[in-house]
Amino acid sequence: MAARRRGHASPRNMIVLKVESVDKTYANHKALDNVSIDVPEGAVYGLLGPNGAGKTTLIRIITQITAPDSGKLFFKGKPLAPEDVDRVGYLPEERGLYKKMKVEEQALYLARLKGMSRRDAIARLRQWFEKFEIESWRDKKVGELSKGMAQKLQFITTVIREPELLVFDEPFNGFDPVNAEIVKREIVSLGQKGTTIIFSTHNMASVEETCTHIALINKSRKVVEGPINKIREEHASNTDRLTCRRATDFDPRSIAGNEFAILSERLEEERLEIVLQQQAPCPPNTLLDRVLPAAEVIAYQKIVPGMNEIFIHLTRNP
């Protein structure tokens, strides 16, 4: 355990999962077209894309449920082998369990199919049941559980093995807001413990809160991939918002110079809000250097676009 508590700032970001030029064609359409992704160790990796883009297909290839038509996959540097299924946990989008099996029995069965010994599985299960406060369900049949309860159980069966790679397909779908929050918290905490996580979603808010890396897939192709911060920076429009106290002798044009264009200027009581866009290269902090002697600064902010905007922007014009 200690060795795995590395967090996502691991020294050399080793690639846990490498997908290399994967193609997959179904009867009439190409589900994946030359898709490659690299998932670094400890990353919480968001797989984004509109419905039907090929996310689920990619996930099923990663979990070895289906095979690609061509292309290669590597797990920790070695070609992905059938035995690796035990090291990958998977929560599919459409969830379901044996309705007639009892809760504990069901969880043990799935855990043992993942290669856990019975004793280990029982011990871990106990911890998770305590954590989710569901010990009283143990002998209930799955069919008697509410949908949300069953989903929690399924989440437990996915993570109980403590696999090195966790794959969630739309993990927040089907959970009510409270349970979705619990699941999100668990995902973040698993990520902090060093588990590498891939999850697909089109819920952009959850991406911003949880992901360290993302890949955007649109129309069977990968559009963009990388650390989330880097992608946001790349899509930054180089605009800054500057708010300062109004002063009679302060002229925004004096700080803009040739390098910045003033997009808007708004006066609100004693505050002056200016939005500037950088036009020419200049050293960082240029704007602040100029404004500080001239006016009393209340706030300064680089305007970074939300994932939602990036997503929409990229899927419209890749």
Partner: protein, 443 residues
């Protein structure tokens, strides 16, 4: 492989622990037993109550009612009409029968009872008297014709023919040219027929029942969506194998319980039978019955019994695995059991045909239809078992077995491909054409 065992264990234990398992396992033999025991019990029971008829014989015929099966008769010459009710009320006699004086010419008798006379007794009384009168009339005719010996002579013309069939063991006897009488094993077509047909019937039923169970299991996993998690942990082929084995293990367990039950009953019955006084069966008949049973066993070569059992198990499992894998593929392509009909129908039809050919083959195993369908894998498990008791040459059995194994491997591979794709397809109705496309997908 370890994972396959986990799957087998779940499939087995989840079914065995169901209440319906206990129910069926106990209920089926009880029902079967009841089917035979109730009529037998009724037969024995009717003997337990002895009825005595008081027969007022006014005719010249001696003992006009003859021997009655269910009753005894006490004859008197006359009885005052008034005392009838009083006599019956004492319950010493069940009925009073009056045989009138001119019964020969006007065959009519009168029966007085406290309650309605049962039809059975009525018929028995009529039959007894009829035989008596007919015999007397016939004797008269024979006497008048002056042929005192005719009856015995006619009796002597009856000629029962006994066909004793022998199965000549292949090489040596054929070389001798003429098989001597008594060489080779004396066969019994009747025994072969019964064994062959029973075997075919059991295999047919087990395949239908258990292959459908496989299909239902697959559909259940697909519709409940649990399958996607499972195939992310176990390879589909391993999983399917575990499922098919687990389900048949349940069936075999049930089967063995029934066999044990039957054996127990058999020993119980045989130890009890001699002490049982079967009034309905004459000692002759009883001896004849046990002799017939012994004869059946005598006509069964022990090596035949052994090879038949071995073959039965092989074809039972072979057929089940073949159809089980097909039905699993069908289940994977369907969203519900009702959807499955279009795909299952041809195979159920095939099984039915095989069953009917099997029955026909048990009557005449030498038709070319019986031959070919005992070679072709989809029908061979049923038809070969029906044919085998009549003697099938080794090469035919070997060919049929080999083809069955090859067919199983082929269908398992094919079904595996369909299964991998099918279990993840939801919502749209599958067509045969799509199934064909799935086979070509890279799994």
């Amino acid at each position: 492989m370890n994972k396959t065992f986990i799957v087998i264990h779940r499939e087995f234990s989840s079914r065995v622990r169901k209440k319906s398992f206990l129910f069926v396992t106990l209920l089926v033999p009880l029902l079967l037993l009841a089917c035979y025991a109730i009529p037998f019990w009724m037969l024995v029971r009717s003997d337990s109550r002895e009825r005595v008829f008081l027969v007022v014989n006014e005719s010249a015929i001696e003992a006009p009612l003859g021997n009655l099966r269910d009753a005894r008769s006490v004859y008197v010459d006359s009885l005052p009409e008034a005392s009838r009710a009083a006599i019956l009320a004492r319950k010493d006699y069940y009925a009073i029968v009056r045989v009138p004086e001119n019964v020969m010419n006007a065959p009519e008798i009168f029966v007085y009872t406290l309650s309605q006379l049962p039809i059975e007794l009525k018929e028995e009384l009529a039959a007894g008297l009829r035989m008596k009168i007919e015999r007397m009339k016939r004797d008269e005719v024979i006497a008048r014709a002056g042929l005192p010996d005719i009856e015995r002579q006619l009796e002597a013309t009856r000629t029962p023919v006994n066909v004793r069939s022998f199965v000549v063991s292949g090489g040596s006897a054929a070389a001798d040219g003429v098989p001597e009488a008594g060489s080779g094993r004396e066969g019994s077509s009747e025994v072969s027929f019964v064994i062959g047909m029973l075997g075919a019937m059991i295999i047919f039923m087990f395949i239908i029942i258990f292959a459908s169970r496989v299909m239902r299991g697959v559909i259940e996993e697909k519709t409940s969506r649990v399958i996607e998690v499972i195939v992310s942990s176990v390879r589909p082929f391993q999983f399917l194998l575990g499922k098919i084995i687990g389900i048949v293990a349940v069936g075999l367990l049930q089967f063995f319980i029934w066999i044990a039950f039957a054996l127990l009953l058999f020993f119980f019955a045989t130890s009890l039978l001699p002490t049982l006084d079967l009034a309905g069966l004459s000692p002759d008949l009883r001896q004849g019955a046990s002799a017939a049973v012994l004869d059946v066993f005598a006509k069964l070569d022990p090596s035949f019994i052994f090879s038949f059992i071995a073959l039965f198990i092989f074809y039972f499992l072979g057929g089940y695995f073949l159809y089980g894998s097909i039905f699993a593929a069908v289940g994977s392509a369907c969203d519900s059991e009702t959807d499955s009909q279009q795909f299952v129908l041809p195979f159920n039809f095939l099984l039915m045909i095989a069953f009917y050919i099997g029955i026909a083959a048990a009557k005449n195993p030498e038709t070319s239809l019986a031959f070919w369908s005992s070679i072709i894998p989809l029908t061979s498990p049923i038809v070969m078992i029906a044919r085998f008791p009549f003697g099938v040459s080794a090469w035919e059995v070997a060919l049929s077995m080999t083809l069955l194994v090859v067919a199983f491997l082929f269908f398992a591979w094919l079904s595996g491909k369909i299964y991998r794709v099918g279990i993840l397809m939801h919502g749209k109705k599958t067509t045969w054409r799509e199934l064909y496309k799935w086979i070509k997908y890279k799994g």
